[in-house]
Symmetry: C2
Subunit: 209 residues, 2 copies
């Protein structure tokens, strides 16, 4: 009985994941505001009633996509934290993962939406996950300052500038544009590490790796 239930849970989870992916694509194509739960169902050849079994509202869909993205970046950060790499290499890896995430064609539409439109309980969960991410990044920056690798005089502001530079990619990036994700990653890493005062030869060494 236990096993059967688990199997059901897995199937349910997989189905829900498919729904979220399809919805994310629709948001990216039409914009969140203009997309409807009916269309999400239609894209998957589901009735609205069967879709309702997995998600109850468009806001819930948006919340789950944003939560998934945050969990993905958080998992990457946790891995980086255990890597034993230097602080600038850790920061570089996080920038790389972040750029990868915000340029993923299928979730751009969902990430562009501010969490402000979500009901408070979900918004708070998103903010809590983001706080976890911020905390891990803070540890890396402090490690870099302690080791003398980072020369930031106001690390909090340097971090806000970093997050601003990276999140702004969502505003201007187009998957049809002429900049590759690799070029963006390279240039952002370059700018941000230099902004933290990491010596250019260190940045270059990392880029060449």
């Amino acid at each position: 009985m236990q096993k059967k239930s688990s199997f059901r849970e897995i199937r349910y989870g997989e189905k829900r994941k498919k729904i979220l992916q399809s919805a994310a694509k629709l948001f990216a194509r039409k914009g969140y505001e203009k997309a409807s739960l009916e269309e999400i169902a239609a894209c998957l050849k589901l009735t609205k009633a069967s879709l309702y079994h997995y998600v109850k509202s468009k806001e819930e869909v948006l919340f789950l996509i944003q939560l998934d993205a945050l969990e993905e970046i958080l998992a990457a950060v946790k891995q980086v934290m255990q890597s034993g790499l230097s602080p600038s290499q850790k920061l570089k890896d996080i920038i790389s993962k972040y750029v990868e995430l915000v340029t993923q064609k299928h979730i751009i539409g969902a990430l562009r939406q501010q969490e402000l439109i979500l009901p408070k309980k979900w918004r708070n969960l998103i903010i809590a996950e983001r706080d976890k991410f911020d905390n891990e990044c803070r540890k890396i920056i402090q490690e870099g300052i302690e080791s003398g690798e980072f020369k930031s005089k106001n690390w909090k502001m340097s971090y806000m500038a970093t997050i601003g530079a990276l999140n702004w990619i969502l505003k201007w990036y187009s998957p049809q544009g002429d900049l590759s994700v690799e070029e963006i990653t390279l240039a952002m890493t370059d700018f941000i590490l230099m902004g933290f005062g990491v010596e250019e030869q260190q940045v270059l060494a990392q880029v060449i790796e």
Copy 2:
């Protein structure tokens, strides 16, 4: 007759400016979405009909506030361009003006609103003004690269990172917070100039000035 008409025009312009300032404050307090043209009128003890003589819609109010802000920064940039200062000093002055603008309590609400909600004709005017600003900044960056002061390998991306870092201030800044505009300006200048590869002693020299 000519003179009378000019006087009228000035009075009309002044009145409209007052309306925009009052509306901007209302947007900052209530959020753009929740504010109405009726309330804008009420704040100024005007009837909706007399307000209508100056502005025809909430979108027009938003458009005019955003346009004013852009014109303000553009005027500052043009002044900087004629200053004969070094490229890093020019960039520093622009960052300073930009931070001053995006932390101005009374227009935060209007600037936080994306221009996407504006009708196309107005949106295009906003974009055209922003393009002018981008062009002036581009000249400064190219000047800095040519003189060897800036060491950016991808100046377009460095510029996008800069604009992202600065615009993101609108997302996190609170006039009630514990960071002063001066602290933000100093830290942003530091991070961005270092991001462009300006030697730390140059940045420091500028900060001390």
